[in-house]
């Protein structure tokens, strides 16, 4: 090959002959292949890096721990009235004060948190699972079955969910179990529709067809091949379904159909609080604070989980904030 000199001069004459010999170890200069990441550990790592996720997880953990241990170690029973100590403001003996029959609000609030959490988690999980199963059948089988199921879902969505809730609570009474049944009956349609969409989205993808060709049964294909792809979305969906269930319980309590006393829930406690918030502010404040904190932390954690699963949007948001700050700084200078 012809060699080039510019104006008879070398471009750079500090180079030696050594420089122009082939590299001795070609393997050493090959670009390092970026380490491949496994999906879920990577998601976890991103989650742990997010301050908001840590904060909301901490709040959730504290509330859950208090809900577990306060009722166990509290010197007061949640339903033990003590008329001598009625209507007390918060003090060391009663951190959240007492109600009008002298029950310790601190114990009651966390017994209520227990109930609400229980209803929230199970009341979100069960309709979700029912909806998933029905949605999977509808999406996978298709045809008439799909048509019939979707029509039923349409009709059921036209009936206000409150009617199912009230009907079942009227029949079964105000216990956590009946609330969960009510939630299950009124809540499955949404997730069935969503899950059906997901199945349809993946049903004809190559990897599913490949599994089918290899003779995998539908159940196995859905669980082993499709489910892992939508697990993230499901987790996020569940995170927002729990607040929904807790709110539904609170709403029923407000109507007067929730958990019946002396058993209690956050919804019932804050409903009672609203009635007396002018005179006994602490009875309004603490249950409302805990339920709002709990829901806020769940929402926030759901958001962070979504961001960790799909970091693109969050990264963009973050950079947009950086630029804004940069531009502002520039204007001042």
């Amino acid at each position: 090959m012809e060699k080039i000199k510019k104006n008879g001069q070398l471009y750079d004459d500090t180079l030696t002959e050594e420089d122009f010999s082939p590299v001795p170890d070609r393997a050493a200069i090959v670009d390092q292949i970026r380490p491949s990441m496994r999906y879920w550990p990577e998601v976890g790592k991103r989650l742990m890096k997010n301050k908001m996720a840590i904060a909301s997880l901490t709040v959730l953990a504290v509330i859950v721990l208090l809900a577990i241990f306060v009722p166990i170690f509290s010197p007061y029973e949640y339903d033990a009235s003590n008329f001598l100590a009625a209507k007390q403001k918060p003090s060391w003996a009663h951190p959240f004060g007492t109600d009008k029959v002298g029950r310790d609000m601190f114990t009651r609030v966390f017994v209520g948190t227990r109930t609400s959490l229980l209803i929230g988690v199970i009341g979100a999980l069960i309709p979700y699972i029912i909806g998933m199963t029905i949605g999977a059948i509808s999406g996978w089988v298709g045809g008439t079955v799909d048509m019939v199921i979707m029509r039923v879902v349409d009709v059921m969505l036209c009936i206000p969910s409150m009617i199912y809730m009230i009907l079942i609570l009227v029949v079964l009474g105000g216990s956590p179990v009946s609330l969960i049944v009510a939630l299950a009956l009124s809540g499955w349609m949404g997730s069935a529709r969503g899950f059906r969409g997901r199945i349809l989205q993946f049903k004809n993808r190559e990897f599913v067809l490949a599994a089918k060709t290899l003779g995998a049964r539908p159940g196995r294909i859905i669980i082993r091949h499709i489910l892992p792809n939508i697990l993230g979305n499901m987790a996020v969906g569940l995170c927002s379904a729990i607040p929904g269930a807790i709110f539904a319980e609170a709403g029923m309590s407000y109507i007067g159909l929730g958990i019946s006393p002396p058993m209690t829930s956050l919804g019932q406690l804050s409903t009672d609080g609203v009635a007396v918030f002018m005179t006994e502010f602490h009875r309004f404040f603490f249950p409302s604070l805990i339920i709002s904190l709990l829901i806020f932390a769940l929402f926030m954690f759901g958001n962070c989980l979504r961001d960790a699963l799909d970091p693109k949007l969050r990264d963009e948001d973050y950079m947009a904030r950086v630029y804004r700050r940069m531009r502002k700084g520039g204007r001042k200078a």
Binding site: R151, D154, V155, M156, L157, C158, I159, P160, M162, I163, I166, L167, V170, V171, P243, F247, A250, G251, Y254, I255, L257, G267, S270, T271, V274, F277, M278, F284, S288, I291, S292, L293, I295, F296, F299, M300, N303, L313, E316, D317, M319, A320, R321, V322, Y323, R324
Partner: protein, 305 residues
């Protein structure tokens, strides 16, 4: 087009019929008797009342006569409020519930869309951050708690607005605010997401490459395309808002349909419950129907010719 409308209309009617049928039999599965519930000691009276309202006839006969009423848009008579027809109750109380819902929508939808658009355009700015945070905070508080706090601040301390009742426009302001908070934050969030999504599309780059002004790119291309998918969800939303919220009505002592609804179920007032449910289903179906038609007119891609 006409064929499509007729088909949709038939499906709508079928849905309403299914709702009425399901609810009719569901309600009859409930144990108990509305008249015994009202006056537990007077069994004789209860039997007489059952016969009077025709509730002692076979179920299928009752069902057929109910359907017959339905076809003539007659929802029947209340079992608990003697002498009042369900139609009269709806005519009297629905306007109040609907007014609250419409006001909340009129306030919430434009405001939410505007905030969403501004958040997306000035992404990362103070407004964006504030909107995102406050929408989570405000939706994390149960509505009756939020309502109570607002009553305390604006009604009791500042005395700007009356705490409760439904007498003048001033009375409607607080409940409208509380009800619209969900609308605002929902619209703000989805509009922001959609705006950003459209912002990544190629046609936006084309628009910029044409050399038209940024305002025009945002208004003419970005907002226009982002707002279309919002319309598909509006049917259920409008229907939901028209039915209002029982909780808000209770907090502010508003004489709307909500109270009738809950009381009719707990009081086993079959006709009233059924009437209200079917009425609500009609609203949902109609709103969806209208929104779908509108969408077909607005979005050229799904235009039905």
């Amino acid at each position: 087009m006409t064929k499509y409308i007729i088909k949709r209309l038939l499906i709508s009617l079928l849905t309403i019929w299914a709702v009425a049928t399901v609810c009719f039999f569901l309600l009859r599965l409930l144990p108990g008797n509305p008249f015994i519930l009202q006056n537990p000691l007077d069994m004789k009276n209860a039997e007489k009342m059952m016969a009077y309202y025709g509730l002692d006839r076979p179920l299928w006969e009752q069902y057929l006569s109910y359907l017959d009423g339905l076809i003539h848009l007659d929802f029947g008579y209340s079992l608990t409020h003697v002498g009042r027809s369900v139609n009269a109750v709806i005519a009297q109380y629905f306007p109040i519930t609907a007014q609250l819902g419409v006001q909340a929508l009129l306030l919430g939808m434009p405001l939410g869309l505007l905030l969403g658009i501004l958040s997306a355009v000035r992404r990362g700015g103070g407004l964006d951050y504030g909107c995102q945070l406050s929408s989570v905070v405000l939706t994390a508080i149960p509505s009756f708690v939020l309502a109570a706090v607002m009553q305390l601040i604006f009604g009791v301390y500042l005395k700007w607005f009356p705490v409760s009742q439904w007498l003048s426009f001033r009375h409607t302001i607080l409940p409208t605010l509380v009800l619209s908070i969900g609308v605002i934050s929902g619209h703000c969030r989805s509009m922001r997401t959609l705006m950003l999504e459209v912002g990544r599309q190629d046609y936006l780059k084309t628009a910029k490459a044409k050399g038209v002004s940024n305002v025009r790119v945002v208004v003419f291309h970005q907002i226009r395309n982002a707002i279309l998918p919002m319309i598909t969800n509006m049917g259920l939303e409008i229907a939901g808002m028209l039915m209002g919220s029982y909780i808000i009505e209770k907090v502010f002592s508003i004489p709307g349909l909500g109270a009738y609804f809950v009381n009719s179920i707990t009081g086993l007032d079959y006709t009233m419950t059924l009437g209200l449910v079917v009425f609500q289903a009609v609203i949902v179906v109609a709103a969806n129907f209208i929104v779908d038609l509108l969408y077909g007119l607005i979005d050229p891609r799904v235009r039905v010719v």
